[in-house]
């Protein structure tokens, strides 16, 4: 039984999740790979897992992508 996808998604944890500290440490490297179209998800699966689950780090990633993409003006 799984009629509660939102609850299921929230409670589901990914063992590859590296946590905030490691994700923040490498965020500039990961963001540049993503922005340049490189296969960042294959190289950093733990960061991908973390950014999917952590709202604040995901927000920071979106902000950094916007900054290096020049979409902040």
């Amino acid at each position: 039984m799984n009629g509660w996808p939102a609850l299921d998604r929230f409670l589901r944890t990914d063992p590859r999740d590296v946590g905030c500290a490691q994700a923040m440490e490498m965020l500039h490297v990961y963001a540049e790979l993503v922005a340049s179209g490189e296969p960042a998800e294959q190289r950093y699966p733990g960061i991908v897992a973390h950014l999917h689950a952590c709202g604040p780090c995901g927000e920071d990633f979106d902000g950094l992508i916007a900054a290096i993409g020049g979409r902040v003006d």
Partner: protein, 216 residues
Amino acid sequence: MQKALVVPAGLDAESAGWVRALAGPGPRREAALARLHELLVRIARGEAARRGPRLAITGPELDDLAFQAAADALVAITGKLGQFRGESRFTTWAYKFVIFEVSAKIGRHFWRHPAVRLDAEDWDRLPARFGADPAHQAEWGDLFAALRRAVDTELTSRQREVFVAIVLNDVPLDTLVMHLGSNRNAIYQVLFDARRKLRAALAADGYLPGDLVRGS
């Protein structure tokens, strides 16, 4: 005596120029600092504006937040210049600091905001938080009762405190970090462990599939 900063090998010319100028002496360094500050203010303003529509911060207050974030980021960047390893362009590395500063300052803003409820426990909000339709309470009543039971019986007091603040009371994680005098990684890990325990409990009771549960 100040230790000479070594420019990482393989840097692109622009990044190497930043590092040399910021690590060097005199007017060249001053000019680089001024240019970097200008860039950081632009990025901070852009980031504050990007997040602004979802925040109750506008106008001069948001602009002030951006300026403070840029100033603090500049201090952090110059203090950590020796840690720049050249894994990205210098500006990408630098922008990361100002994005983090904007985040932290928004968290601090809500910590000071009286509307943030840190201790209340409004369990009636829980079903709606996960998209449950009030008209179909018969379908989800047992599930959320089991979830509440698991929160009370499976979690440590710290895990329960973090779960209640973030999930029930919608307290932003960065705001809770300020309140608890902790850091984002530690609070995320507490919530991560709480989520894992709660899912295991609900799976054991047959409310959620158990095949995705790892460990205990």
